[in-house]
Symmetry: C2
Subunit: 198 residues, 2 copies
Amino acid sequence: MQPAVRLAGRRRDPRTDVAAIEAVLDLVGSGATLSGLSLVTIADRAGVSRNSLYRRWKTKDELYLDVLDAINKPLPDLRRPTARDELIAHLAVLIERTLDNRASSMLRALLAEAAAFPELHRRYFDEIVTPRREASYQIIRRGIAAGEIRPDIDVALVNEVLVGPILARLGSGGTEGLDPVQTSRRIVDLVYAGVQAS
Amino acid sequence: MQPAVRLAGRRRDPRTDVAAIEAVLDLVGSGATLSGLSLVTIADRAGVSRNSLYRRWKTKDELYLDVLDAINKPLPDLRRPTARDELIAHLAVLIERTLDNRASSMLRALLAEAAAFPELHRRYFDEIVTPRREASYQIIRRGIAAGEIRPDIDVALVNEVLVGPILARLGSGGTEGLDPVQTSRRIVDLVYAGVQAS
DNA sequence: TCGGAACGCAACAGGCCTGTTCCGATATAC
DNA sequence: GTATATCGGAACAGGCCTGTTGCGTTCCGA
């Protein structure tokens, strides 16, 4: 959306981009849907003229793609002495993400309207879900290689059991009051030990 | 919405109610949002006059409450010889529910717009989530009483780990191609045995 | 200093949705 | 048979959103 050649003229105010993205996050966090949000509402909330938004983004889809980028924080370093510690750290980061109500609402809205925003949905999977899932798989595989985790388990299934409780809470919106590290530790401990009476 | 006293006059066609509810499920299953759906669209899809819908439901909220009732199937009998078998049966029923794309889409849409439809959200929790969660807790507690499950585990956490993978798939919409019983068995087996190398 | 671009503000037509009101036709209870 | 309630179809005003255009103003690079 930048002009082809930048010769002269007034520069775009970068605060306008930020204000628009923040406005979308605020509004979606307050219960708005992606298709229901109007550019008028976004512009008003951002304190920006509707014209400035049209200048930057041809469609709402393009704006939403930038919103998705804005909430996609890089994966932190998860290296720890043991796979168990790495899994706890991995889940803790995931829980922290779900505690951000605006980001969680954005993802919920996105998943509910995946059919209406296929490109947004694809980017979500490719840039957010897949890298984190791969990181989780790597941790589990390293745990197997180190003799810490049983080699006969299904890596994907273990990952699902570990992150399932967190993603389920993300999906249903009940993520308040979770202590990231403590909750992660309890999940990992349970899945490590199993529930069967010996 | 029924008239106070039924004296005389033409009866309401019960097929109209069904057609409206089916129309909502179809449309939401195709990606529509609850707030985005219009009564015009619903009436057209149902092959019914908009007038008939207004006669039955004052607001869209009331219509959606009936839709929620329509997808709320009763809990089947889950009694089995062991808690493990009961848990497998319980999860299998849950997976079967998520395979119904229209019902899943309805729940996703509902959760994404919980703020805009508080009554609908409350009813969802009270009439769908809570009974199933309680049933799951009961199974786990019986397993503990029978000496089948460790008594020192947190019942709620075990439930979350078991249903988490399924609810997470429900939330993200990727439930196709799951065999209910086989998937349930693999989850329960994993959570029973744990992943730790002995 | 001067051209070019972004800025806010306003207006416009076109479309869709709502909520309500008519109408004539049809079905049902008393 | 008559009163009553439903049915489908149509119309209406009012509101909101879109996409575009125009305007005077502000900023910035050449």
